[in-house]
């Protein structure tokens, strides 16, 4: 499937150093390297720009503060005061997905958010965490989350299974949304990049122009998907606090 010129070749994982632990292959791969770059970028940026702790911020410090306030605002709008506890987690999630997407926009750089296993793991952490949180807050009453008040009683046999299925499909929709967006965008870029090379004479400039425009769109999507991931996490946390 992954032939030499396949647009999917960019998603192939190449081990940089082979590591094995307890019989499992935990090689440090290009995907791990992208994660390392992502984590380094985030931690260094957020640490160095706020290093002076000046009241009148520099431009770079302002960016860090903007991100902080952006997620803090998002969390307080959706969850309210209860949400403050989860701010570090939601912020980490947002930054990890956002910078992971952005690092993927660098040519020849691997995009770890285009791998379903990575996005699914992140979504699963959110899903399991929120479910545990719901049971901590409401105990067994958390099951009334699937019961929608104000609906005729004969509708419940139909609605409760729908609610359960929609609840259980949350991690899938959350992870597939991000994974599919990244996969589609990068594949499209690669396909049009192939056109630039293969089209005769100067006609290659048309797909090239398209790639330039598409790169802009992809950067927008990279931000948008990180935002969607964060806001959905906030909404799920809110659901763990407020039943119907």
């Amino acid at each position: 499937m992954a032939a030499k010129d396949s647009p999917l070749k960019q998603f192939e994982i190449d081990p940089i150093s082979n590591i094995e632990l307890g019989g499992y292959n935990i090689s440090f791969t290009n995907s791990s390297f992208a994660m390392l770059i992502t984590v380094l970028v985030i931690t260094l940026f957020l640490t160095l720009t706020v290093n002076t702790r000046s009241i009148i911020p520099s431009r770079m410090q302002l960016i860090s503060e903007l991100m902080y306030n952006f997620i803090a605002q998002l969390l307080s709008d959706t969850v309210g005061d209860n949400g403050k506890k989860y701010f570090p987690f939601v912020f980490s999630l947002f930054m990890f997905v956002l910078i992971g997407n952005m690092v993927g926009m660098i040519p020849y750089q691997f995009t770890f958010t285009s791998h379903i296993i990575v996005t699914f793991a992140l979504a699963a952490v959110v899903f399991i965490g929120v479910t545990i949180l719901g049971f901590i807050n409401h105990g067994i009453k958390f099951f009334t989350f699937f019961y929608i008040p104000g609906v005729p009683f004969y509708m419940h046999p139909l609605l409760i299974p729908i609610e359960v299925i929609s609840y259980l499909s949350r991690p899938i929709s959350l992870s597939v949304r991000l994974f599919a967006n990244m996969l589609a965008g990068h594949t499209l870029l690669k396909v049009f990049a192939g056109f630039v090379v293969s089209m005769p004479f100067f006609t290659g400039v048309f797909p090239l122009a398209f790639i330039v425009a598409l790169t802009g769109l992809e950067i927008l999507i990279a931000f948008l998907q990180a935002y969607v991931f964060a806001i959905l996490t906030c909404l799920y946390i809110n659901d763990a606090y407020h039943l119907h």
């Binding site: 499937m1 992954a2 999917l8 998603f11 192939e12 994982i13 081990p15 590591i19 632990l21 499992y24 292959n25 935990i26 090689s27 440090f28 791969t29 995907s31 791990s32 994660m35 390392l36 992502t38 984590v39 985030i42 931690t43 957020l46 640490t47 706020v50 702790r53 000046s54 009241i55 911020p57 410090q61 860090s64 503060e65 902080y68 306030n69 701010f87 570090p88 987690f89 912020f91 980490s92 930054m95 990890f96 770890f112 285009s114 791998h115 379903i116 296993i117 990575v118 793991a121 992140l122 994974f179 996969l183």
Partner: protein, 163 residues
């Protein structure tokens, strides 16, 4: 599709867990508190400045009120002083006028008296002249020597007619 190849699933999950856990702990313990401190510090500074500005404004308003009070008081005082001065001047003028009137009256009455006195003197002189003239005339015409008393008596009786 390489994404569905389970060969590197464990590796991916392992490194994801490592890096994300590191990122989470680092942001939670280091980066975010730092930004929060800065934001808090700034908010405190803003609040401080706002409250001090409010205080200063209040002070300014108080001072303005004081100034207005003083201006009003000064106005009232000035008005009173002006009134007082006008009254004093009027009194002065009226007293001076009245003293002037008195003076004039006195002068007039003095003059009247003098006139009367001189009139009387003149009348006496006239009487004497008349008496002399009468004495001479009667003496020349009739050779009768009239005494002064007789002449005066006659003049006294006729005084009313030419007075």
């Amino acid at each position: 599709m390489p994404q569905l190849n389970p060969e590197f699933f464990v590796s991916q999950l392992f490194w994801l867990a490592v890096f994300f856990a590191f990122l989470f702990v680092f942001l939670w313990r280091v980066s975010l508190p730092r930004i929060a401190t800065v934001l808090e510090k700034r908010q405190n500074k803003i609040d401080e400045n706002l409250s001090s500005a409010k205080e200063l404004q209040e002070q300014a308003m108080e001072i303005e009120k004081k100034i207005n009070d003083q201006i009003n008081r000064a106005k009232l005082e000035t008005d009173e002083k002006i009134k007082e001065t006008i009254n004093a001047l009027q009194e002065d003028v009226s007293s001076q006028l009245s003293s002037l009137d008195k003076d004039l009256e006195k002068k007039v009455s003095d003059a009247e008296k003098e006139i009367l006195k001189s009139k009387d003197d003149q009348m006496k002189n006239i009487n004497n002249e008349i008496a002399n003239i009468t004495k001479l005339t009667v003496g020349k015409i009739t050779d009768i020597e009239l005494s002064d008393n007789e002449i005066n008596k006659v003049i006294e009786t006729h005084k009313g007619s030419f007075n």
